[in-house]
Every structure is written in C-alpha cells, then in structure tokens.
C-alpha cells in the first residue's frame, strides 16, 4: 500500500504545527511550507504530493495565485483550500483557481478525513 504524501501550505506557525500533527496522526507523510511560492518551488524538483492543504492569505504568493500556478504547471494533485474566509464570493474565486475541495478553518481530524475520502486513491481504504 502506498503511503499518502501531503503538503501543508500556511504562513501561520501554529497552524503549521497543528496541521502537521493532524496528518501525522493519520499516518500521512507530510511537508510544511510557509507560502504559495514555496509550494510552487517544492514541485520544481519533481516532488509529488497526493494532497495539498492550501491556505488562502499568505505573503509573497497567496493561495489563489499558487493554486493557479500549480495547475498551469500541470500538477494534478488534490488541492484542498483551507481558509477562514466564509464569503461565497471569496470561496468561489478560490475554487475557480483550481481547488478540488474547500474546508473552513480551523482544521479538525473530521474535516481532514472528509478531504481524504474525496481523493481517488487506491491506498485510502484505511481511513474510516
């Protein structure tokens, strides 16, 4: 069974710590970066992630820009927008950038499981 790999993209260090632990707890190997540009750069070396947890508001390159860029680069990973923004318009803009899913912060194990259930991956049957 292939282990899932995730990328956490968030500029808030408390969220970084919590999201990392949430993923660890579910047995998901994960890496953490601090903004959209770092998320793009980490892919340049050919690294692939099954799922990307993308925050919206970040310095240098925000979540919308990063998602657009990753899709332009041909990255087909499952990208879940994770944000505090609740306005329909903002949600819509983020989804249109190329998200596969959207979750409101703060992230919980339940929300993470809901993201994972949406991913079409053969190794996922462990998660219930």
């Amino acid at each position: 069974m292939n282990k899932l790999r995730a990328l956490v993209v968030d500029d808030n260090i408390i969220n970084q710590m919590i999201h990392h632990r949430l993923l660890d707890n579910l047995g998901i190997e994960n890496q953490v970066v601090g903004n959209g540009k770092e998320a793009v750069d980490v892919h340049s070396s050919g690294t692939y992630f099954d799922v990307i947890l993308m925050d919206m508001d970040m310095p240098i390159m925000n979540g919308i820009e990063a998602t657009k860029k990753l899709r332009e680069m041909g990255i087909r990973s499952f990208i879940a927008g994770v944000t505090t923004r609740a306005l329909e318009q903002e949600k819509g803009e983020f989804m249109e950038a190329g998200l596969d899913d959207y979750q409101e912060k703060p992230l919980t194990t339940a929300k993470l499981l809901s993201i994972l259930h949406k991913i079409n991956h053969s190794g996922i049957h462990n998660f219930s």
Binding site: I13, I14, M17, D57, T84, K105, P106, T108
Partner: protein, 172 residues
Amino acid sequence: MRPVSEKGAKEKATMDAVAQLQRQLVDYTASLFHEGYLDDQFNQLRQLQDESNPDFVVEVVTLYFEDSERLLNELTKALQQQSIDFKKVDAQVHQFKGSSSSIGAQRVQKVCIAFRNCCEEQNIEGCNIFLQQVKHEYTLVKSKLETLFKLDQQILAARVDPGSHVIRFLQA
C-alpha cells in the same frame, strides 16, 4: 482486619491527593469551556496528544503564547504610528484571530473579529479600544491555560508508582 502498613497508608494518601487534583482539573477545565474561554478546537488538540506526542498541547499553546506576544507588540507599535497602516494592522489581527481560533481561544477570536471591523472602517479610536480588549482577553486565557498546565504537571508529579500509567488529563 488487614494491618495498615506505613507504606500502604502513604500510598493511599498520595492516591487520594491525585484523585483530588484530577477532580480539580476536570472542574476547572469544564469552567473554562462553560465561560467561553475555550471552545471545541481545544479538545481537538487534546485528541492529538498520545504516548508518542505526550506534550503536544503544551507545545502548541506555548508556541501560541510566543507568537501572540510578538503580534501584540507589533500591533501596539503599528497603532502608535503617526500615519497608521490599517492594512498592516488588519493583516496582523487576522493572523492573531487565526491562531487563537486554531487553539480554541474563543473569546480572543471574537474580539479579533470586532477589531477587524474597526480596521476596515479606519476607526483609530475603535482600534485602540479593541487593542486593549484583545490584550485583556489574551492575558486572561493565558493565565487560565497556565493554571491548567500546572495542575496537569502536579498530577504527573504525584504518581504513586513512576512506572504506572497515569492518564494525562490533557489527553482526551
């Protein structure tokens, strides 16, 4: 009737003390939820603590304290400027709201929401009032969490048998 050894009596006294501390901790934690200082997100953190991550809650909350103090200093400075950069202030309050929400510091989070409205309106007086309020709520929740951690540490320290498994209260 069983003879009561000195060792046995000592152990019982310690177990009673631990039980009392645990009751205190249960009651104190319940009051924090009841009074709205903490919300369910704090329970999410507790659930992430286990044998391989035995200090997770304290670690995250300590990081929150450090980061919050940095943010509050920056906010204070930003609002003291001759010409206030409201966009910057708003971004900082947004950060503070985010981390407060992530650890379950509900009252701090709520003040941040109101604070952001004043930033949007570029209302200097309102911002200053909310800065004071957010500092007040932060100080309160910090002191209460520190009390919680202290109680948890006392329970750990009072274990009868160092090898026995004591369920950390901070573990859900």
